[in-house]
């Protein structure tokens, strides 16, 4: 039985006799010496991860202006920060986007610019009070002008993360990157063998007050992160550290095309090998960590699982999906994760980093529940119009023109004898045909690729499709592609106008 204490290990750091290895190295050591032998041999295992962690941000204190202001709203390089916390405190969230540049520049970029020492334009407004009379403030600062710049990330270091793929025939732009059509690729995130929480999944050594590597500086674990779902193996951490000591090697802004801004955060957690059990847990390898490949083609909270997969398979460069080899891409950097685990190891070996005893353990039995929604979400069938006017594909353009006139409706779904949808004609198509004197069959002037909706679909999902394809109406079809209604952008805006 091995039984070490944190203070014993710290004594070894002090006298230089500490034995520290990275979580990658530990796999082989446990395989060779067994858990007990490894626990005797190794005092600390270092972990590391470097990936997109959206739920990140920084508390800033600007000091008081003359005359003083109680900021009600504040923008840093045109990115809004939250200042509903005291007069000159603000929280800049990583994912907030610039009001002028949009997704190109966001909170994460402000954070990176602060670390780089770049100048930041500050604009703040206030209603003005007797004690804080100032109403508008404009100034330019850099990180040295701030009293504090404390990174406080509500949810970082996911134990592991679902991998993503796309079954649809359209390319998707997501926070998991571009997902190519027809299972064209798989993207994943997480450091696997080096992942901090995967190396201590029962939180036997990690807890509130654990000193960690954060963004190149020493930081701390505040406690469980938001959405901490330890019961299902998706634990998270809330962490804090001093931005003024951080390094852009390990904190980087990023933009996911079509999705938005995120912050790449580098984090490393030292795991004290207190006993065999800890040693065994840190022997976890990529092959032991299982996650799911999720189909992001389905726009729902409960996206279907395509298959289970290990990090070893993901890291191999391709995995099998439905008999086909699909290329995988990591979004987090394994090289930099490794660098972090290595750096933390060096700090410890050189007596520059000491372990802390956690004040509190992380909860190990939480689940993350879905949102409680008190308003029913409307379905397409609730707002579609059922008396849809259709036209037969062999009808003439003249007949179509007449129908459009009579019904004063802009869109005619084109159908076969048994009401199966084969196309759509608009008033515009008809006028164009008339103008060009092509008094043809409807079939020859219709658009064949019709964007449709299903009656059992949520209106928000249908509305997004309408918007993406820049059409103003969609026929509603059943499973057999029979036309059962039509939904227009007017129906949708009327619905949303009512709700506001």
């Amino acid at each position: 039985m091995v039984n070490k204490s944190i203070s014993e290990i710290n004594d070894r750091i002090k006298d230089g006799s500490v034995s520290v290895v990275t979580a990658e190295e530990m796999v082989g050591i446990v395989a060779e010496l067994g858990a007990e032998g490894a626990a005797k041999e190794v005092d600390i295992v270092t972990t590391g991860t470097f990936g997109a962690m959206c739920s990140s941000g920084v508390f800033l204190n600007f000091g008081h202006s003359e005359p003083p202001i109680k900021m009600q709203k504040i923008w840093l390089n045109d990115v809004e920060a939250y200042t509903g916390v005291a007069a000159v405190d603000a929280y800049i969230g990583a994912t907030q986007v610039s009001e002028t540049l949009g997704m190109e520049y966001g909170g994460a970029h402000v954070i990176e610019d602060l670390i780089r020492g770049n100048a930041i334009d500050v604009h703040a407004i206030s209603p003005g009070t007797d004690c804080y009379p100032r109403k508008i403030l404009d100034t330019t600062i850099d990180i040295n002008d701030l009293n504090q710049a404390i990174m406080l990330n509500p949810r970082n270091a996911y134990q592991k993360y679902n991998a993503a793929t796309n079954s649809t025939s359209q390319k998707l732009y997501t926070y998991m990157g571009s997902l190519m059509p027809n299972f064209g690729n798989v993207t994943y995130s997480g450091a696997g063998v080096l992942s901090p929480l995967s190396n201590d999944p029962e939180y036997r050594t990690i807890g509130t007050g654990t000193r960690i590597f954060l963004g190149g500086a020493q930081g701390y674990i505040v406690g469980q992160g938001t959405q901490h779902s330890s019961k299902s193996g998706f634990g998270t951490l809330m962490v804090q550290g001093d931005l003024k000591e951080m390094d852009t090697e390990f904190i980087r802004a990023s933009t996911f095309t079509g999705y938005g801004v995120s912050l790449y955060v580098g984090m490393g957690i030292p795991i004290p090998v207190l006993d065999e059990k800890v040693a065994l847990a840190t022997a976890v390898s990529d092959a032991d960590i299982i996650t799911k490949v999720i189909d992001y083609g389905i726009p729902s909270r409960d996206r279907p699982v395509v298959r289970q997969v290990t990090y070893e398979e993901l890291r191999s460069g391709s995995i099998d999906i439905k008999g086909r080899e699909v290329v995988t891409s990591s979004l987090s950097s394994f090289k930099r994760s490794r660098q972090i685990a290595g750096l933390l190891k060096d700090w410890i070996a050189h007596g520059e980093f000491f372990l802390s005893q956690p004040a509190e353990k992380l909860p190990s039995d939480t689940v993350s529940r879905p949102m409680k929604q008190t308003r029913g979400t409307p379905m397409v069938k609730d707002i579609m119009s059922k008396n849809v006017i259709t036209i037969h594909k062999n009808a003439s353009v003249y007949e179509a023109a007449k129908k459009v006139m009579d019904a004063s409706f802009n869109h005619l779904p084109v159908v076969t004898e048994n009401n199966t949808l084969v196309g759509i004609v608009t008033a515009w198509d008809i006028s164009k045909a008339v103008a060009q004197n092509t008094f043809d069959l409807v079939e020859n002037i219709m658009t064949k690729k019709v964007i449709t909706a299903m009656d059992s679909e949520q209106v928000t999902i249908a509305a997004r499709r309408l918007e993406q394809h820049r059409v103003s109406a969609m026929p509603v079809v059943d499973e057999q592609n029979h036309v059962i209604g039509i939904i227009t952008s007017d129906d949708i805006s009327m619905l949303f106008a009512r709700r506001n």
Partner: protein, 128 residues
């Protein structure tokens, strides 16, 4: 070298490629081809010395021919070596070596731009 051949709608049904190959005797090594009802686009590999001849043969038949000689730029400072670009590139320009360093073989690049959208760190660009 790589070239992009664009064939417009009005001539897309004619056997332009075959005629050009027959006329010049130059084999076109087709790397990618994409046709739909609107237009056709072909990426082909040819010898540098053959460029002029094949271009003339194709252009005289109404096609457009572009040299793909300015491949993707990789900004190593911005790159964090995540590997996100690897799975979206149609010609496998990107790969990881044993030490998880990103390797970029831009001689394979066909300048499609797909990787630029994918890169979260703005590390990839094409000269326009």
């Amino acid at each position: 070298m790589k070239i992009r051949i664009i064939i417009d709608q009005d001539i897309v049904t004619r056997p332009i490629l075959a005629e050009a190959i027959l006329e010049t005797g130059i084999p076109l090594n087709i790397a990618q081809a994409h046709f739909d009802s609107a237009a056709g686009e072909i990426i082909a590999d040819i010898k540098d010395t053959e460029y002029r001849m094949i271009k003339n043969a194709l252009v005289s038949r109404g096609a457009e021919v572009l040299k793909l000689d300015t491949p993707i730029n990789w900004d190593e400072e911005e790159c964090v070596e995540c590997g996100a670009c690897i799975s979206v590139c149609p010609t496998k320009v990107f790969s990881m070596d044993m030490e998880w360093n990103l390797k970029v073989d831009n001689t394979k690049c066909i300048q499609c731009g797909t990787c630029i959208e994918m890169c979260p760190h703005d590390a990839l660009s094409l000269d326009v």
